[in-house]
Amino acid sequence: MRVMAQIAMVMNLDKCIGCHTCSVTCKQTWTNRSGVEYAWFNNVETRPGQGYPRRYEDQERWRGGWELDRRGRLRPRGGGRLRRLAGIFANPDLPGIDDYYEPWTYDYRTLTEAPLGEEPPVARPVSALTGAPADVSWGPNWDDDLGGAPGNEDLDPMAVRMRERVGRGIAYEFERSFMFYLPRICEHCLNPSCVASCPSGAMYKRVEDGIVLVDQDGCRGWRMCVSGCPYKKVYFNHRTGKAEKCTFCYPRIEAGEPTICSETCVGRLRYLGVLLYDADRVAEAASVPEEKDLYPAQLDLFLDPGDPGVAAAAERSGIGREWIEAARRSPVRDLIVRHRVALPLHPEYRTMPMVWYVPPLSPVVEAVAESGHDGEDAGNLFGAIDALRIPVDYLAELFTAGDPAPVEAALRRLAAMRSHMRSVNLGEDPDPEVPAAAGMDAAQVRDLYRLLALAKYEERYVIPTAGVGTAHDLESIATSCSLDTDGGPGMGGPGGAPLKPGATDLLTWSGDRPEGLFPPRRGGEGRSAR
């Protein structure tokens, strides 16, 4: 057993209102540069829908993720090492910029420089790639909110697959449509196929926290990672010629702060925490033959940090006590392992993704309420989950490789929680049968309610700092008196971080020539110009 720690995320889809705040703050933080205009490390897509880039889930076309070869061993779907190198001069599976969208800006200069005239000047869109006037006909979230709209039947690869699998498609009729939002970031997989595809070895999974990163000095622009990632969450910076991807905001995580998308999420639907897993069994779990067994196989990888044996093994692999303690309090572990309400996105890609989702109960509640019944009555909800196969089957295509049972079970727990807590809030006597029908007890329901509904900041984000031993250096102001620094305000110098000895802070420089600015004169004494 080789214990490794992973910072993981869970998103509660019931609470996502599709406001795109996460996407915007992420963009402002990481990709507001030329070359990555089209890169959305975080995007929010409407489902059913094509997603971003268009139809990225169609792996027959893009060949991302892993597959099993004839002997049952894992192999990148785009081909093994030789196939990759053979395709290095022109990657056959690379999406073009038009599969994303042609980035554009506006000719703002006209607004201020147009000559005086009858008509107010207009800033026309211009392509960020060519500078020519652009005819904007597609963009990020062009199909926002068009989830169940007719005419989109064949655009969502998952809806098409569901129709093939269960023989029944989504009804693209206004009255019977359903939709929800799916925020997506890099999955920081346990078995990342982007890392496996990188010929340069520039992509890596960090040992300490499992974050998958691109070494910008090592990347040579072979762009195999872009096609290797089935979630299409590695982007090619077309100005620098290097790959870039979601960093899980590692500088914030190292300091114990949540990622920027989590921090700014107005729905407070994101959870961050540590999971311990057995790295030695990852390949075995990722190569189970049946796709539907991949979700249970991945669950089986997670270790119980409460088990003294696991804790001891974790310490032996160099995981600090703070991390083990954080793993015990991890909200992510609670949602994934204890309550079993969170599910992985597309386990069938065999990458063992680590951003999981609580499936939305709202399409079901809506349907019940619209039919004139009580949408929070447990009996109605349980019945509807069974009867309303379409949302369940569609969710199963996203989260469990088509197996409806785990989705149903998760939705039943959410329904039981709603029903139980409504009884409590109305002062009724809660029916113990309701949680029991979902395999829970009242205490567990209250726990889940606290985590999902109250969602306190410090309970949503349990992030150990990168090195408590070095916390003093991390933030010197927090752990020592800022006046104590050498040459600090108390000493008549600037505050904040100490300067190198002999260095001068340009902000407070008085104009004097500091000692040592010029070398000493040959033969004579050092010139001092004080």
């Binding site: 090492r81 030789l82 990759r84 190198l85 001069f89 022109a90 056959p92 690379l94 073009g96 910029i97 790639l129 060519t130 020519a132 078995n191 990342p192 890392v195 010929p199 340069s200 070895g201 992509m203 999974k205 960090r206 040992v207 300490e208 070494d215 910008q216 000095d217 990347c219 040579r220 622009g221 072979w222 762009r223 090619f236 077309h238 100005r239 620098t240 010629g241 290097k242 190292e254 300091a255 990168a466 090195g467 070095t470 916390a471 250096d473 991390l474 010197s476 904040g496 971080a497 300067l499 190198k500 002999g502 260095a503 001068t504 802070d505 340009l506 902000l507 500091p514 000692e515 600015l517």
Partner: protein, 242 residues
């Protein structure tokens, strides 16, 4: 006594070119690893690239292999192996023409793409503008030397002049006089190749030196530790260090 111009061109220039190549590579690796990339434009346009790029690169690999065979292997060695001059000539002419034409066709497609696809054209940098003409000329001159001198002209045995000249360069025993009587297109080809080598470290051509052969021998997954010294240390504020 060798002509001073010959001495300069065939005795000194090759060493300057190689020194710039080697020194430039070291400099680029130490100071600009971030800029070391193939700077692919496949994101902009894929259809033409998928024809031109493999054609050019694979052709170029063949061309490079042919140069190694023709220049590094002494004539005596091939004759010892039982390959007489006539057979060698036919093989070198045939293979050289095919490889050269493949490469030239690939480069033609790529240049057409670069000029006509607006997105690609816009992404062309200064070093591209310098490198593409030199690369194209070297290729065309080499192709001319092969087809005109070696084919139509009846055959020029560069293994008596150019090849020993090159080998002697690497033995640090330059023999510029060997190049004095070589046909003009051969000499221009060699001269421009020296310019091209000197340009390699400063252009996108550096990506040739990072061919990812080690990919074949490494495990799929790469794990790395965080560099301990990076953690949480604040950048020093700007100021004078004595």
């Amino acid at each position: 006594m060798t002509d001073p111009i010959d001495l300069l061109l065939w005795g000194a220039a090759p060493y300057v070119s190689l020194a710039v190549l080697a020194g430039g590579l070291v400099w680029r690796y130490r100071h600009d690893r971030f800029g070391w990339t193939s700077r692919s434009t496949q994101l902009y346009e894929s259809r033409l690239l998928r024809v031109g790029s493999p054609l050019f690169h694979l052709g170029l690999l063949l061309v490079a292999g042919g140069h190694v065979l023709g220049l590094a292997v002494p004539k005596a060695l091939t004759e010892l192996a039982g390959v007489d001059e006539h057979t060698y000539h036919l093989v070198s002419l045939g293979m050289g023409t095919v490889a050269g034409l493949l490469t030239a066709a690939g480069l033609a497609v790529l240049l057409y793409r670069r000029l006509t696809v607006p997105r690609v054209r816009r992404a062309t940098t200064l070093d591209d503008r310098l490198v593409y003409p030199v690369l194209g000329l070297v290729l065309l001159l080499g192709l001319t030397a092969t087809i005109v001198d070696n084919g139509i002209g009846g055959g020029y045995d560069y293994r008596e002049t150019v090849a020993p000249w090159l080998r002697h360069l690497f033995l640090l025993d330059p023999r510029p006089e060997l190049m004095a009587g070589v046909p003009l297109d051969f000499r221009l080809h060699v001269l421009l190749a020296m310019v091209l080598f000197a340009l390699v470290p400063f252009s996108r051509l550096v990506h040739a030196f990072s061919a990812p052969v080690h990919y074949l021998f490494r495990p799929y997954l790469v794990y790395r530790r965080r560099a301990p010294e990076v953690l949480g240390t604040r950048a020093q504020p700007r100021g004078w260090a004595p």
